[in-house]
């Protein structure tokens, strides 16, 4: 459905509230939960992809230049990437007011 959830009536819900559209969790913005965001120091990055592998929200993806970048729309700021990074290329910094 295209309209926001807060406008659905009870008659528009599917039986058992089954979600029929696969993968629609990607529409759910979890990025506004965070207080800390990961910042990558590209000079230290060895492109190992451990941040990408460990990220529990699959926020990381490979960009055209070969760096793994966290999508802040999804990143909850858990800091696992910074903890796992073998070269210390990722630091968690306080996210500024938007």
């Amino acid at each position: 459905m295209t309209k926001p959830e807060s406008e659905w009536t009870w008659k528009e819900l599917t039986v058992g509230n089954v979600v029929l559209e696969p993968g629609n969790a990607s529409q759910y913005r979890t990025g506004d939960w965070k207080t800390l965001k990961p910042v990558l120091n590209r000079e230290l990055c060895i492109h190992c992809g451990l941040c990408y592998i460990f990220c529990p929200d699959m926020a990381y993806s490979l960009n055209a230049e070969g760096y793994f970048i966290s999508d802040l729309y999804y990143c909850k700021g858990c800091g696992i990437c910074a903890k796992e990074c073998p070269t210390g290329a990722i630091t968690m910094v306080v996210e500024e007011e938007k």
């Binding site: 009870w10 008659k11 819900l13 039986v15 058992g16 509230n17 979600v19 029929l20």
Partner: protein, 391 residues
């Protein structure tokens, strides 16, 4: 006409599950449910029934397995009692919220403490608001019949709700009764294979059991409430279709000798048969007493109940569970709520009787009617007591 055989009611229930072509059975043993699932495990082990039998480690898992199997489109069955039902109570709300048409037989037994294995309705009353269709049976034939009725009803596209068939533990579950078995061809016509609306399948992925924010939860509950309430018309249709097949027509509220009755006994479950004997005796003495039996507990049949009772002067409601600290037994509470909006309504006297399997004889019903009539005549508009307690 089907074959009429003497059979323990639990075995008849298991035979009905077999005849209903159930795909998955998941259960954990607890008295007095055991004979049902023991017999099913034998049927599966002997190759007489083509189903998966899951021996799980608890009732919580028993119903959880049914939720999973039903979600894949497999017709699923479980059976429990008392503490077992209490342990699976968390999952009962999930099965109805997900609209999974599971059928469960409850061999009703008292909840501890004190520890008791005997019958009353305290187990099922603890999950009164779980969102399942809830039926009560009076004898073995009704138990057998209602397995088929329950599956057809549950799987109806307009319903898609789980169904509980209550049978009183020991009083029904462990007695041998004449059961008229229905021919398999008739069952197969009455109950075609389950066609799920949505199911878990890799070819067409869906999500079941997703999170709901406060912005949508109330809408989800309203949808569930509406479908449970409106399932009454499908319940009536299903009973009609079953009656046309077997000649046994069931109603949400059954009446017995209620014509011109001034006092009506109100019962649910196996109380009904004994109470009808008491009514016969009182009628022989010329007393205008009748009997109203509730077969359907959820959705509560408000209109049918009012139609059956509004012309009486007093109702003597016999409950089989205590609502500790509440206004009386759970059935009496519902009865009073049903009548509250009526200008002319019968007075309601409430007894809790037969808890933890204590026998309630025809003479006990007569005594309860005597007591209620005297109290009401003395001006007590309503009353509540646990019957037969030694002071």
């Amino acid at each position: 006409m089907g074959k009429r055989v003497g059979m323990e009611v639990s075995i008849a229930a298991a035979e009905a599950v077999k005849q209903a072509n159930v795909d998955v059975i998941s259960a954990y043993p607890i008295t007095p449910q055991t004979h049902v699932v023991e017999h099913l495990s034998e049927l599966v082990a002997n190759g007489e029934m083509d189903a998966e039998f899951f021996c799980v480690e608890s009732e919580h898992s028993a119903l959880s397995v049914c939720v999973g199997s039903e979600a894949t489109g497999a017709r699923s069955f479980t059976c429990t009692s008392s503490q077992g039902l209490a342990l699976m109570s968390e999952i009962t709300y999930i099965a109805s919220g997900l609209r999974l048409p599971i059928v469960m037989v409850i061999s009703n037994r008292t909840l501890s403490a004190p520890l008791s294995i005997w019958n009353d309705h305290s187990d099922v009353m603890s999950i009164r608001d779980c969102g399942w269709i809830q039926l009560f049976t009076e004898n073995g034939q009704e138990v057998y019949d209602h397995i088929f009725i329950a599956y057809r009803l549950a799987e109806d596209r307009e319903v898609l709700l789980p169904v509980i068939v209550n049978m009183d533990g020991f009083i029904l579950s462990h007695v041998i009764e004449p059961i008229e078995l229905i021919e398999q061809e008739k069952i197969d016509r009455f109950l075609p294979p389950y066609q799920p609306l949505h199911r878990l399948h890799p070819d067409r992925p869906v999500t079941m059991g997703a999170f709901a924010l406060p912005s949508i939860f109330a809408e989800a509950k309203k949808a569930q409430e509406v479908v449970l309430r409106s399932s009454l018309s499908q319940i009536l249709q299903t009973w009609k279709a079953f009656g046309d097949m077997t000649g046994r027509y069931y109603k949400p509220v059954e009446t017995y000798r209620t014509e011109d009755a001034e006092t009506l006994l109100i019962t649910m479950g196996s109380f009904g048969e004994t109470a009808s004997v008491a009514v016969d005796r009182m009628r022989e003495e010329g007393r205008p007493v009748g009997l109203v039996k509730l077969r359907l507990w959820r959705p509560f049949p408000f209109d049918e109940f009012k139609k059956a009772t509004l012309s009486a002067n007093q109702l003597v409601v016999i409950d089989r569970a205590v609502s500790v600290g509440g206004p009386g037994g759970p059935v009496a509470s519902e009865v009073k709520a049903a009548l509250y909006g009526e200008e002319q309504r019968p007075r309601v006297y409430n007894f809790v009787a037969g808890i933890s399997g204590r026998d309630v004889t025809p003479q006990d019903y007569v005594k309860m009617v005597d007591k209620a009539e005297i109290e009401i005549e003395e001006g007590n508009r309503e009353g509540y007591e646990i019957y037969g307690v030694r002071e």
